[in-house]
C-alpha cells in the first residue's frame, strides 16, 4: 500500500480524485436494481390499491416521484469529493432543525397535527429530512472524536443532545411515530460508533423499567392505539377497526393470495388507508403468504447489500452514514409491517418504496444516494460484491 493510498485510506490526505466515469462505474448498481424491483412491486400493488384505471393518475404521480428520487439518488451519490457530506453535515443538520422549528411556529395543520411546511403548494415534511440530517451529524461527530474520547461516557452528551432536540420538536407536532423513528436511528448510530456494551445493556434495562412511567406521558389517542393493538375486538368499529380489517385482509389472502385486483377487502374499501400506510395488507391479501415473504426477502436483500457497503467504507464517517441510512430504511419497514399485521400500534409510518406519498419516497432516495456515495468512494470497492 503506497503512501498516497494510505493517506486516502485513512481519510487524512487530500480527497481521492475519481473521474466522473470512474464514479459512475463504482455506483452500487446491484442496490439500485433492488430498489427498482421494490418500486415496481410498489407500482403494481398501488395500482390495485387505488382501484385500477379509475384513479391511475395517482400511480403516474407516484412514478414521477420515483423518477425524481432516482435523479436525487444518482445526483447525491455521484457528486465529486469524498469529504463533501462530512464537511456540510452540521450545516445540513442546522438547516433541518431550523425547518423543524419553523413547522413549530407556522406549520400547516393537517389531520390534527402540525407536520408540514408549505412552499408555494409543495408540502415539505422537515421531520423526514431530519432523519437524514441526524445521521450525517452523528457520523461527523463520531468521526471527529478520538478513540479515547469515544469510550468516555462524558462524550455521550453531544450525541444525546443531537438526537433529543429534534425528537422533542417532533413529539410536539405531535408525531410520536416519527420521533421514535428518529431516536431509534440515532441510537443505532451510537451503538455502532462504539457505545460501551455495559452502557447499552444498562440502558436497555432502564428503558424496560421505565415503560410503565412513559405510559403516563402519552396522549389518550396514543394509549388507545396501544390498547387496541392488544384488544382490537373491544372497539371493532372505532379504534380497533384498522387492525381488525387489516388482519382480515392479510389472513384471508392465505398462501397464494386472491390474485391481482381480486382482494375483496381492498376492492370493497373495507381497508382504511389502503394505498398509503396499510398498502402491505393489499399486497398480502392479493399475493398471499408467498407475496408477503417475497417482499420481505427483497427488503432483506437491500439491507444486506447496504451493510456490505458499510463494511467497505473508507472511514468512520462512511460506516456510520451507511449504518444510519440502513437503520432508517429497515426500521421503517419493520414498524410499518409490524403495525399492519397487528404486532405494533398504529403509527403513521409509510412502507418504503411501496406506500403512496412523496416525502417518504424522496427522503429514502436521499438516504440511498448518500450511502451510495460512500460506496462510490470505497477503496475496497468491488472486492466482495
Amino acid at each position: 500500500m503506497g503512501l498516497s493510498d494510505k493517506r486516502g485510506y485513512l481519510g487524512l490526505g487530500g480527497e481521492s480524485a475519481l473521474t466522473k466515469r470512474e464514479r459512475f462505474a463504482r455506483f452500487p448498481w446491484s442496490l439500485f436494481l433492488l430498489l427498482l424491483v421494490l418500486a415496481s412491486v410498489g407500482f403494481v400493488v398501488l395500482f390495485s390499491a387505488i382501484g385500477g384505471w379509475e384513479n391511475v393518475h395517482l400511480l403516474w404521480r407516484q412514478i414521477a416521484r420515483f423518477g425524481m428520487g432516482v435523479v436525487l439518488m444518482f445526483g447525491l451519490s455521484l457528486l465529486g469529493g469524498e469529504k463533501l457530506y462530512r464537511r456540510y453535515a452540521y450545516l445540513f443538520y442546522a438547516l433541518s432543525l431550523l425547518l423543524l422549528i419553523a413547522v413549530f411556529v407556522f406549520g400547516t395543520i393537517g389531520m390534527g397535527a402540525r407536520r408540514w411546511l408549505s412552499f408555494g403548494g409543495f408540502l415539505l415534511q422537515p421531520s423526514e429530512l431530519m432523519k437524514v440530517a441526524l445521521v450525517l451529524a452523528l457520523a461527523r461527530y463520531y468521526h471527529d472524536r478520538t478513540a479515547s474520547m469515544r469510550q468516555d461516557s462524558g462524550g455521550l452528551g453531544v450525541p444525546l443532545l443531537l438526537i433529543a432536540v429534534p425528537a422533542a420538536f417532533i413529539i410536539n407536532q405531535p408525531d410520536l411515530g416519527t420521533a421514535i423513528m428518529v431516536i431509534s436511528i440515532g441510537v443505532t448510530v451510537m451503538v455502532v460508533a462504539g457505545l460501551s456494551w455495559n452502557l447499552i445493556i444498562g440502558s436497555m434495562v432502564i428503558l424496560g423499567a421505565s415503560i410503565p412511567m412513559a405510559w403516563n406521558f402519552l396522549y389518550d389517542y396514543q394509549r388507545q392505539r396501544i390498547t387496541t393493538l392488544f384488544f382490537p375486538e373491544q372497539d371493532p368499529l372505532g379504534a380497533g377497526y384498522h387492525i381488525i380489517q387489516s388482519k382480515i385482509a392479510i389472513g384471508s389472502g392465505g398462501v397464494l393470495g386472491k390474485g391481482f385486483m381480486a382482494g375483496s377487502q381492498n376492492r370493497l374499501e373495507f381497508l382504511p388507508e389502503r394505498h398509503t400506510d396499510f398498502i402491505f395488507s393489499v399486497l398480502a391479501e392479493e399475493w398471499g403468504f408467498l407475496g408477503g415473504c417475497a417482499l420481505l426477502l427483497i427488503y432483506a436483500m437491500v439491507i444486506v447489500r447496504t451493510l456490505i457497503i458499510a463494511t467497505q467504507a473508507n472511514d468512520r464517517f462512511g460506516v456510520l452514514v451507511v449504518v444510519g441510512m440502513t437503520a432508517f430504511f429497515a426500521f421503517q419497514v419493520l414498524v410499518n409491517i409490524g403495525m399492519v399485521i397487528g404486532l405494533l400500534p398504529v403509527v403513521g409510518i409509510p412502507l418504503p418504496f411501496i406506500s403512496y406519498g412523496g416525502s417518504s419516497m424522496l427522503t429514502l432516495m436521499m438516504a440511498m444516494g448518500l450511502l451510495s456515495h460512500v460506496s462510490v468512494y470505497s477503496k475496497q470497492h468491488g472486492r466482495s460484491v
Binding site: L12, I248, A249, G251, L268, A284, A310, A330
Partner: protein, 614 residues
Amino acid sequence: MLDDEHARFQVDVQRRLWVVGGGLFGAFSILGGRLFYLQVMKGGEYRNLAEDNRISLQPISALRGRILDRNGYVLVENRPDFSLAVVPELTESFAELIERLQPIINLSQSQIDSLYKRLQSQRSFLPLQIKSKLTWQEVSRIEAQIHSLAGVTIQAKSVRYYSQGVSAAHLLGYIGEVSERDKQRFPAIHFRSGDFVGKSGMERQFEVQLRGREGVREMEVNATGRQIRQLRERSPRPGDDLHLTIDLGLQQIAEKSLAGKAGAVVVLDPRNGKVLAMASQPSYDPNKFIQGFSDKEWNALISDPDRPLGNKAIQGQYPPGSTFKIIVALAAMSEGKMDASERYYCPGHIIREEHKFYCWRRKGHGQVGLVQALAQSCDVFFYKLAEQVGIDAIERQARRLGLGDISHIGINGEKPGLVPSRSWKRAMQGVVWYPGETLITAIGQGYLLSTPLQLANMMAAIANGGTVYKPSLVDLGDDELPEVLQWGHINPNHLELLREGLREVVHGRLGTASRYQPDRVKAAGKTGTSQVVRHKREESGEIIKSENDRHKDHALYITYAPASPTKEPKLAISIVVEHGGHGSSAAAPIAKELIDYFFSRTENGGDGIIGPIG
C-alpha cells in the same frame, strides 16, 4: 498508531454490524412468522370473516298462502301496500322534490320534520320512506310523472287481508309480529325480528304451510354498506293455499242470524266430521290486527262483557240443558232400563228426600213414553229414567259421544267441558255423589258443561249411527279418510227409537221446535235451555233491567237433517244463544234458516254450489 486504531475500529465495527444485522434478521423472522400464522394457519378463518364482510344477505319475503273456503271463495289473501320512497343521493334537490310531491301526498308539518331528521341519520344511497299506505289515486298520480321525479320509487309490500271482514274471524285467526313465545312454538322456523307470524286460529295452526320459504339475495357490499352487485339469488317459495271445509254461505247465514246476540253456531257434516260453519258472535275484524287498533277500539274490544275475541264455539262451556236427555235416553236403553213400551207418569214434579224436582211444565205431561218425553222435553220422565240408570252409566254414555273431552280440532284454546262422575266429585269436592245430583244431571244442569262443538258432534254421531269423528277444518280432499274419535256401537233399534223422538221434536204436533220445521227436508232436533247462575241481586235488592238480561237462560238447539229414515243426514248443527231464553224460540229458527239455505242450494243437483250471500 493510526493504523492500529483504525484496525481496532474495523474489527469492532464488524462485530457491531453483526449485532445490528442479527437484530434485523430476528425482527424480519418475527414478521415472517406472524405472516405464516395469519395467512397459513388462520387463513381459512379470516377468509370466512372476509366473506361475511362483503356479502350482505337480503331476505325476499315469501307470499303467505291464501285461505279459501270449500268452494274456492277467498277468505284470507294478500294485498299490495304501496309506499313512496326517495333515494336522496339520486335527487337533484331533496327539498325541491318533496315540495313537488307535496300536492299529491299532503304531508303534515310534523311528518316533514321527522322526514328531514331521518334524512340526516340515514345513508344517502338507501331509500328513505316518505309515505306508506298510498291510495290508488296517489300511486297513479306519482306514476304519471315519475320519469321527471329523479330518485322517487314506489315500493309495493304485501299485506295480509281478511276479505270477509268479521266473518269466521275466530276460526281464521290473525297474524302479528313475532314474539319470543312464537319463536319457541315454531323452533323450526327461522324468524327475523319484525316478521309476521300466525297468532291464532288457522293462521297459527298452519303457520308452517302458509308461510312458505323466504328467498334471499346475496349482495356484495362495500364497507359503507353500498351495494356493488348481486352475487346470487334464491327465489322465495310462496306459502301453500289452505282449503278449509268451511262453506262460506252457511257461515255467513250463521253469523247473520246471530247478529246482535252473543252465541255460537257449529255446522258439521255428520258423514265425516268436516266443519261446514263455525260462527261465534260478537266478532271482530282481523284486519284491525294488521292495521293497528286505536286505544279506544282496543279497550272497547277487551272490556266487552260478550268477549268478542273468544271463540265461543270451542271455548264457550254451557250446561247442555235438555239436549243432554239424548244421552240419558241412550244410556237407559243400552242398560236395558228402557224400551218402546215403557211409560212414566209426569205430575209436574217429583219429590225426593223432601226436595221437589219440577218439570218445566208445572201442569205435568201425564203418561209419557220416550218419544213423547223427548218431543215435549218432559223433565220428570228423565228424572225417573236417570234414577233407574244411575250416574255411572250416564257418564259412560256421555263420554262415548264425545262430551267431557276436547276433540282435537286443532285450534288453540279448545275447552273440554265437564262430565261429572262419582270419582270426579270425590276428588274435586271431597264429598260423595248425592242421588239428587243424578236427577239434575239428567236434565243437563248441575256440573255438566259442554261446548257448542261437542254438542254438534254429539248430534252428528246420532245422525251417522254413533261414530264420533274428529272434527276437521282443512279439506284434504275426498281421498283422505276422516279420523274417528269413537266408533259407533249404538243398537239400531235404540237408535231408531231415539231418532223418532227427535223427529217428533220438530215435526210432532207438540214438539218443542215444531214451529220451525224446515221447508224442504225433515229434521230431527232437541231444544235446550241452560240455566245461568242463580239470579243475583244488587244490594238494594233490585235487578237492573240490563243486568236482568244478562241473567236470562241460554237457548240451545241441536239438530240434524235430512232426518227421514231413507235419507243420509248431511248436516248436524248446534246453536247456542247466550241469554236467549228458550231454545225453541231463540235457537231453533236459526237452524231452520241454515237447513233451508243448504238444501235449497243442493236440491237441484246434489252438492251444487251457489255463491255465498251478500
